[in-house]
Amino acid sequence: MSSNVSLVETVKKQYAFKMKAYIDAFSSLVGIQFIAFLFSLGGGSSSMGTSDGYHFELKFYSADLVIIFTFIWIFVTAITITTKPYRNQDFTFVTNRMSSSLSNILFLLSASLLGAFTAVLSRFLIQTVAYFLLKEDLYIASVMTSEMMIGITVSLLYVFWISSIGYFVGTLVQIHKGFALLIPVIVIGSLFYDGFMQRYAMLLILFQFYFLESSMVLFAIKTLITTAVLFFASIAILNRMEVRR
């Protein structure tokens, strides 16, 4: 007998399926954050000595690098799940383009949440290892629980925002392989061109729009709107695409 299915039900099933099937994305997250953690332990140091017999050394610890690596990870992950094998495996089971995209977005949201959370938390791992294993005397910038929450929320907004960029880029590449070449050329080309014209890089101005925003509310609005627009555009494009298995 033919069975009726609802979009919501299908999205739920696809989402559950992807959380199981894309488990490798999570292990690569652990790997990438671990590498960033190792870099963080050694990185950010500077020193100065004088002839008077003094040598000063300064080391900064923070999870900044782990967060940056997490950005890269989500970007690559978002592009990866738009590629053919991943799209095709959706269509081995029940789906349409809409449920495929929506479940992808839900997956990216979950991945972003996990990535942002572990990235911000890794600061404690860094400071614990620095103190107990590297026997460092630490000055620790105070952070309140509320600030920690801000850190996680903002990291989540950033990571999810970057995932939408990755998903959009991946979608464009699916339309035409030429975008895989065109996009890096435009990005790097604009940097070079602005450098050549001796003016402030457009791309930096674009990024400052987000990174220099000091109002939490405005920042959330900016990133969420951008994220929504990019995902919406991706869905619109993918919705017309054939799945050539």
Binding site: H55, F56, E57, I67, V120, Y139, A141, V143, M148
Partner: protein, 217 residues
């Protein structure tokens, strides 16, 4: 951050984690993730046992030590750069200064007091900071001793000073105000100012160069 404040956070983390463990059949990849999150949570707890200071940015005006010195006003104006003060009673009429400072000679600044109080004051001035953190207190200063009309200055061994700061992440600082520490260093001094009564005779051996600051005033 108090321990109690962390409990809700730990619960928020642990709940989805437990859900995840119960729901999904375990594989190596799952264990990897579970172990990783477990380690992160443990480190949050371990972070409470770390004894540390919150870095307080020095409010000491970062005066130029040498400018004050060369204008002869260091004693008058440099009280906030004063790190150590020794005072020795003088018995004879003559003091010899000797110092240990490797192969080179060291400089000692001499200032004559206007009144004879039968005392020799040895003051150490300096300005030391790393990333705006005042580290002057951690500096080992030259040891000074007056015995048998000889002022002996023993300079410390080569000193290494290491400072580590755990910063807040940029995703926090973007909204809580920039607490970012720069990586500036300031290593000025230490210089020794020896204040002596007006008519005390002072001489130094080859290890030490005496510089009178009186004529700079």
């Amino acid at each position: 951050m108090t321990f109690a404040a962390l409990i809700p956070m730990a619960v928020i983390v642990a709940l989805p984690l437990l859900f995840f463990i119960v729901r999904v059949k375990k594989k190596v990849t799952h264990w990897l993730l579970v172990v990783y999150i477990g380690v992160l949570l443990l480190s949050v707890v371990a972070a409470f046992f770390i004894k540390s200071d919150e870095p307080e940015i020095t409010d000491r005006p970062r005066d130029d030590l040498y400018e004050m010195l060369y204008s002869g006003e260091i004693y008058a104006k440099g009280s906030n750069l004063l790190l150590k003060e020794d005072s020795f009673p003088i018995e004879g009429e003559k003091v010899r200064v000797t110092s240990s400072y490797g192969d080179e000679s060291s400089s000692v600044y001499i200032e004559r007091k206007t009144e004879d109080d039968q005392k020799m004051d040895v003051l150490a001035y300096g300005s030391f900071s790393i990333a705006k953190l005042d580290v002057a207190e951690e500096i080992v200063l030259p040891a000074v001793q007056l015995k048998d009309e000889t002022l002996t200055i023993v300079y410390p061994e080569y000193q290494k000073l290491k400072t580590s700061i755990v910063m807040n992440e940029f995703t926090i600082e973007q909204f809580t105000g920039n607490k970012k520490y720069n990586s500036e260093f300031q290593i000025d001094g230490p210089i020794l100012l020896v204040r002596i009564p007006p008519d005390l005779e002072i001489e130094a051996d080859s290890t030490t160069e005496l510089i009178s600051i009186d004529e700079w005033k």
